[in-house]
Symmetry: C2
């Protein structure tokens, strides 16, 4: 191994560990921090962020990279993967002037507060200047990194290397074409899911059931834990992964499926090669791929009939009183309830994709300049009605509902829907390889699925982009057809349409 | 304010925040860390320790200090306190060669494991070489800092600036003289405390009662929390303080008084001026003073009759069944049970001091060379019998019982007993100032005591050494007489001797 590669690894380890400490501080802030201690936490995070930035922009990394890139032939495939990703990260931290980074950080903070106030007051106009400034910052950032002519592609590439707006446009158009008729058929169905009948589920019993489920599908609690926080998330690496959930007595399916979702993220992290966590060989292949893992466990697996053939008995053992008078079919229908909602985070797996398509369309139009920020609410409401069949009565349940843009996170929304597509395409592949796979679930066994994901997805880290990996594993380019077929298969029969 | 002082403050803030992050990692390790994640935590702590060391030994601190020290008259009193303490800390991190620091860190780790094995196997001989090496390291460390002729005084001074072995010897001799006869009288008393009758206290109810007690005595849970860990401790600063406890159904007093003890530490930290946490003005005045705060709340306050005049009713409301047939007097006696034990951490507040005197004597003899490590077990057993009236039957319950020496923590034990003395002397002072103070406790009011401690002790930070502060607050030099009088007063009547 060249000495420069050794030096690169040493620095990447330091960066990884500093970032992992920052992550833990963030987790602790959501889970444990006493209410008046946030001032100290802010100062701790600022000091740590400065040190992490200094470590990731250390000139020694640049020198090692330059030396290694001057003779790539002396490296093996794996080493080249590490160098390529390290270059990408290094450029991102070193090509942005520090004044720009400070300006953006300050604007994120101000903008978050402005968004929060605007949402509470249903006052988009007060927030509009902040969003405009964020768009301007995003374009400047893209220019610093050499993407000045394609700022929205740059934004997408941040989250999902190798993807761009043109590719996504094509995928989403095809998805939309198939999805809208399905949604209309379900909406017209006389069959009605009644998840609201599930009420009064004691929180402690929910937590115990959830632990049983997540442990059985394969989460390693010797290297992770689950706690309670206001907004569920998953933080850390496979060496120590922290998931969170929240409980409400009258929304038992929400914490359960939220946790299976986070467990999917956790299983991906736990499947990445432990010895390579500090480099691209042990890191995830982008947000869409990450989301595909959480979605497959939540939806394809967790909402499926075979899964409940095993878990229903245990669910009823814990919640017999609450489930009295609710048949197995009614329970499964409640688990797979499909109904339009104006709010993305409340959407089911069918409608969810339409929420994303809406946001992707509008982001593109904002970046191209075709749509002015001032006209965004009207455009939102119009497209919302076209796609979802509903029109927001105010901006709080419309254009102001999501936090993402207030943090300058453009190009992130598509990952959610791409994750659904990838999940469905991988799901086809794994069932092709093991036609009797779902019979395992009915016996409470999930090891074959997890093993297949570990071998075919997790083990590769960042060696391949999401698009490359999908094609490598499934033999076909990414397509919305497997998702459409899966949704048709599951919901046409449930809703008898 | 001179520019150099400004620069010093900037650096001290960074050091403080890095150390606070290290502290939080340590807390999380004890409270939350999944069992197999300790490898990652070790790497995170190593990276952080290196950065904290770099920050505390930054040449800019040395330059600022040199400039400020060259013109101390330009500083006010408070600034001089900050400079003096910063000099002390800076010398400690910069005068130790990094090879020495590495050698000591490695030896601490090896020595801890050797101690653990030796204790389990009751095999002192296997551990002796590690202890010898620790003594040698301690002497070298003292020499690096200019204390080569007084290495044990150096060790004491690390924990309690301004204290030395000669002072402690005198105090402990006087204490011992008064304590041994009291212990003998109690041992001969026909009155028997029966804490073992308190059994089967549900852990959740214990936690709820403990929360009620600690909140009422003044702990601010908006800037702190209490969790469960194998070994109770208190970590953090008043901006975010993390206490821990552990519960056993058959030892309800153990978790309760352990938590009141940690709350005493927490109240001290919460009373230090928030805006000065990064400097000596907002930091504690040594371990003895810290211990005086935990001991006063635990013992003088928490085990007193007035405290239980208020809390007994609530205790019985939660644990009526468990306390059936136990009278108020029997309960109070169980709370103040005095009985010899070979194990320090199980000792009551009377015997505890003798455990410390034993260790202090032996540490002195080890440092002077009068006692060889090989002869330590015999010396321990002999002095144990003389002081406590009991002889260990093996080294695991004798010389191997404490973890401290395995980490090179010499000169630390005296702080515990000095803390008891300081607590008693402050207790005299506050009751002199407010003769009706304990009537407050019987009404569940603790604000006047806490206010007095905040004003007279906490507010001063590190401005005064423990000895100076005791004299300033009580008008007399530190003496064991208040402790002896307090113990006589409380236990002679309880044990009718």
């Amino acid at each position: 191994m060249p000495a420069a590669y050794d030096s690169l690894l040493t620095h990447l380890h330091k960066v990884h560990h500093l970032n992992s400490v920052l992550g833990l501080l963030g987790w602790d802030e959501q889970v444990n921090l006493p209410p008046d201690s946030s001032d100290l936490r802010g100062e701790q995070m600022a000091v740590m962020a400065e040190l992490a930035h200094a470590a990731s922009s250390a000139p020694a990394i640049g020198e090692a990279l330059a030396e290694l890139e001057s003779d790539l032939d002396s490296l093996n495939d794996a080493q080249r993967v590490v160098v390529r990703a390290a270059r990408r990260d290094y450029d991102r931290v070193t090509k942005l002037p520090s004044e720009f980074v400070t300006e953006k950080a300050k604007h994120c903070s101000a903008s978050y507060h402005a968004w929060h106030k605007a949402k509470e007051a249903d006052d988009f106009a007060s927030y509009a200047p902040y969003l405009e400034k964020h768009l301007e910052l995003a374009k400047r950032e893209a220019a610093y990194l050499g993407w000045g002519d394609r700022p929205y592609d740059y934004a997408i590439d941040q989250h999902d290397p190798g993807l761009d707006a043109a590719t996504i446009t094509k995928l989403f158009a095809e998805l939309s074409e198939g999805l809208v008729p399905l949604v209309q058929r379900i909406a017209a169905s006389p069959v009605q899911a009644k998840p609201e009948r599930l009420r009064g589920f004691p929180v402690e019993a929910q937590a115990a059931f959830l632990r049983e489920v997540t442990e059985r599908i394969g989460f390693n609690y010797r290297r992770g834990r689950i706690d309670v926080s206001p907004h569920p998330f998953c933080e850390g690496s496979g060496a120590d992964i922290r998931m969170t959930t929240r409980y409400e007595a009258d929304l038992p399916l929400s914490s359960l499926f939220g946790s299976i979702h986070e467990t999917g993220h956790g299983l991906y992290e736990q499947g990445l090669p432990l010895e390579h966590h500090a480099t691209a060989l042990g890191q995830h292949a982008g947000m869409a791929m990450h989301e595909s893992q959480s979605r497959m466990w939540e939806n394809q697996v967790g909402r499926g009939r075979p899964f409940w053939m095993f878990f229903e008995q245990q669910f009823r053992a814990r919640f017999g009183a609450q489930l009295e008078g609710i048949s197995s079919d009614e329970l499964l229908l409640a688990i797979n309830a499909v109904a339009p909602t104006l709010v993305r985070v409340e959407a089911d797996e069918v409608y969810y994709n339409l929420h994303i398509i809406l946001r992707f369309e509008l982001e593109q139009r904002l970046f191209s300049g075709e749509l002015a920020v001032a006209d965004l609410p009207a455009a939102w409401n119009e497209r919302c009605e076209a796609l979802l069949g509903q029109r927001p009565t105010n901006d709080a349940e419309g254009v102001l509902q999501d936090v993402h843009w207030s943090g300058g996170a453009f190009g992130y929304f598509p990952s959610y829907c791409l994750g659904n597509m990838i999940a469905a395409q991988l799901w086809d592949a794994v069932r092709g390889a093991m036609p009797d796979l779902e019979a395992d679930f009915a016996r409470g066994e999930f090891g074959r699925l997890l093993g297949w994901l570990r071998e075919n997805v997790h083990a590769h880290g960042k060696r391949y982009s999401a698009l490359e990996l999908v094609e490598k594993v499934t033999g076909k380019p990414l397509s919305p057809q497997p998702l459409l077929a899966y949704l048709e298969d599951r919901y046409a029969s449930l809703y008898q349409v």
